[in-house]
């Protein structure tokens, strides 16, 4: 009996009892569907976070204080200074732009509308460092920056919240107890790494330090964070090295951290990768359970079909042929179940893509692998029933009426 005929025979036998065949492969169907959906959604989540983090700026570096290094009870905790940022801009050749930053949560109100928002004191270099654009209005320039102008640029969502659809440009809003003039609105960007610039308000850093929050310390003006963009992708490492050197020399010790956005990206990739592998592995367990289901039903089927097996042996089927027949039935079942399951999995991944911002992708290799694994499971779990069938004594089998 050649394999093709065996497959045809298997399909015939399996379709003769559609309900049972369907129930038999249910485990394999569910297993494949969940593995494929998990892989697809995992991939989607991975590209999503990668794109988000990348959108912050491909060559971005962050400098902030190393919280763990500060000794408890030793006076004021050490802080970054505006002069640190200026030194980096002046001395580090691998650095293109430097954006120092102060952040505080303050009440913002326009007429009767009041809200709490994160207000960030920044310089004009913030825009290119963060890779952001304006929708309407303008950003303040160096002159305004030096004059402690009371101007504000709003994130898109905050602007909407305060002004609804009316034009905010030229309007006065209150931040804390000061009055600011709205001069521009930023383009929508979306959240990344837990930070969403769309809901923030941005004012000149010196205005922030001098008028809203007291930031005078013995060395000058204290700031919360410095964001730096390196000249290009290749100089990220050099920039980090230079920044570390300059700051260590200025501050006398290394009480700060320099983190490249790239390494955050790498870390996140590793985490999402590990997560999706774990999810797929958990889903894979249901594949195993599916295999046991196939074995169980095949064993029942062998018992039910003893007469058929006996007859086939009586008319000349060798053990080999019976073994092959039942193995092929098991493999056909599990591959069919696998294909159905994969289709369902791909379908759900597509649905997730429609209803969430994730863009799930199922790699072709995963589909091939899932089909192969399903077939393998059928083969492995089909061996026991098939051997049992092949070893049946034809006389005993025929007598069982």
């Amino acid at each position: 009996m050649n394999p093709l005929e065996n497959i045809k025979m298997a399909v015939k036998t399996l379709t003769a009892n559609k309900l049972r065949s369907t129930l038999t492969v249910l485990g394999i169907v569910i297993g494949n569907a969940s593995v494929v959906a998990m892989i697809g959604i995992g991939q989607g989540a991975q590209t999503f976070t990668q794109e988000r983090v990348e959108s912050l700026g491909a060559n971005l570096l962050y400098v902030f204080m190393d919280g763990q290094g500060s000794e408890v009870g030793a006076g004021d905790p050490p802080q970054l200074l505006l002069s640190d940022a200026e030194a980096i801009a002046a001395q580090a050749p691998a650095v293109k732009l430097v954006s120092p930053m102060i952040s505080a949560s303050l009440t913002v109100n326009y007429q009767s509308r009041t809200t709490k928002a994160t207000v960030q004191g920044i310089t004009p270099d913030f825009l290119p460092v963060r890779n952001m654009q304006m929708t309407t209005g303008r950003f303040w320039d160096e002159v305004a920056q030096r004059q402690d102008a009371t101007v504000v640029v709003l994130g898109a969502e905050l602007s909407q919240k305060l002004f609804n659809r009316t034009n905010p440009i030229g309007q006065e809003i209150q931040i804390g107890d000061r009055s600011f003039q709205v001069i521009g609105v930023l383009q929508r960007k979306g959240a990344a790494l837990g930070v969403n610039p769309d809901v923030n308000a941005f004012i000149p850093i010196t205005t922030m330090a001098n008028q809203l929050v007291g930031r005078s310390v013995p060395g000058g003006m204290s700031i919360d964070e410095i964001e730096i963009s390196a000249k290009d992708q290749a100089s990220i490492r050099a920039a980090a090295f230079q920044v570390t050197n300059i700051l260590t020399r200025l501050r006398g010790k290394q009480d700060f951290l320099v983190v490249a956005n790239k390494s955050v990206q790498d870390l996140l990739r590793q985490i999402t990768e590990a997560l999706s592998i774990m999810l797929a592995a958990i889903a894979g367990i249901s594949l195993l359970v599916g295999g046991i289901g196939i074995m169980n039903i095949m064993l029942v089927s062998v018992t039910e079909r003893t007469q058929e097996i006996g007859l086939r042996k009586a008319i000349g089927a060798p053990e080999q042929s019976i073994l092959q027949q039942f193995l092929i039935e098991a493999v056909t079942l599990s591959i069919a179940g696998g294909i159905i399951g994969i289709s369902i999995g791909v379908g759900s991944a597509v649905l997730v893509g429609v209803f969430t911002p994730l863009k799930p992708t199922v790699p072709f290799s995963a589909i091939v692998l899932a089909t192969g694994v399903s077939g393998g499971i059928g083969l492995i779990f089909g061996v026991v029933p098939a051997r049992q069938a092949a070893k049946l004594d034809p006389i005993v089998a025929l007598r069982r009426a």
Binding site: M1, I315, G316, E319, I395, L398, A401
Partner: protein, 238 residues
């Protein structure tokens, strides 16, 4: 002298082990020539089916030698025995044993599948076999759509489709009425006339009378190896 189709020497078959041994056959010597038409008779439990299974290479004797067509089959592997069953032997059972999911034609083609006959020839030979048993109008019917007699005719067509030397039938008419019994016996007679050796187990004297030789079994032994069918009345109530 015609070829010996079957030669059994000192055959015994013991079932079970330990204290509950059942001697289904004990010391049977028997020969059947090519072209013979025999009936095996005897009371229930006398070992007829056991004998048929041994002759049909479905089972192996506990002791003794069995030459089928001058070949010592006791020495063959399971796979070689399967091949002999496929090519040299044909089986007809009381319960027909057709596969329910297959049509009459597909059932008849089954032995040729295992004989690696090319599909086109399978169709030709299966059709011819079904025509020979008078079922040319039932080729595409499933077993459930056929009467008992028709099912048995499909089974006969299946048993002869690989042109066996020897046709074995264990109570082939046991499940049929007298009219269909006669139809089946006519087919056997016709097959024997065309040269096939036919051995059949039966309980009915009327059936045995259509054969040329009766072998009588009693308690696992051959009581009479060569009884003329006409003499049957003498032994009918032993």
């Amino acid at each position: 002298m015609a070829n010996m189709m079957i030669r059994l020497e000192g055959i015994s078959k013991v079932y079970g082990m330990g204290e509950t041994l059942i001697h289904a056959l004990s010391g049977v010597d028997l020969s059947i020539k090519q072209g013979e038409y025999c009936a095996i008779m005897g009371s229930s439990g006398s070992g007829k089916s056991t004998m048929m299974n041994l002759i049909g290479c479905l089972d192996r004797p506990t002791t003794g030698a069995y030459y089928l067509d001058d070949e010592n089959v006791a020495e063959l592997t399971n796979t070689a025995l399967a091949r002999i069953r496929n090519l040299k032997l044909g089986f007809v059972f009381q319960q027909f044993h057709l596969l329910p999911q297959l049509t009459a034609l597909e059932n008849v083609m089954l032995p040729m599948v295992y004989a690696h006959v090319p599909p086109a020839e399978r169709l030709k030979r299966a059709t011819a076999a079904l025509v020979r048993v008078g079922l040319e109008n039932r080729l595409q019917n499933k077993p459930t759509q056929l009467s008992g007699g028709q099912q048995q005719r499909v089974a006969i067509a299946r048993s002869i489709v690989n042109q066996p030397l020897l046709l074995l039938a264990d109570e082939p008419t046991g499940a049929l009425d007298s009219h269909t019994t006669q139809e089946i016996l006519d087919i056997f007679t016709e097959l024997n006339r065309s040269g096939m050796t036919v051995v059949m187990v039966t309980h009915e004297a009327d059936v045995a009378r259509t054969t040329k030789r009766v072998i009588w079994f009693k308690d696992g032994q051959v009581l009479n190896p060569n009884l003329a069918p006409q003499e049957l009345h003498q032994l009918e109530r032993p």
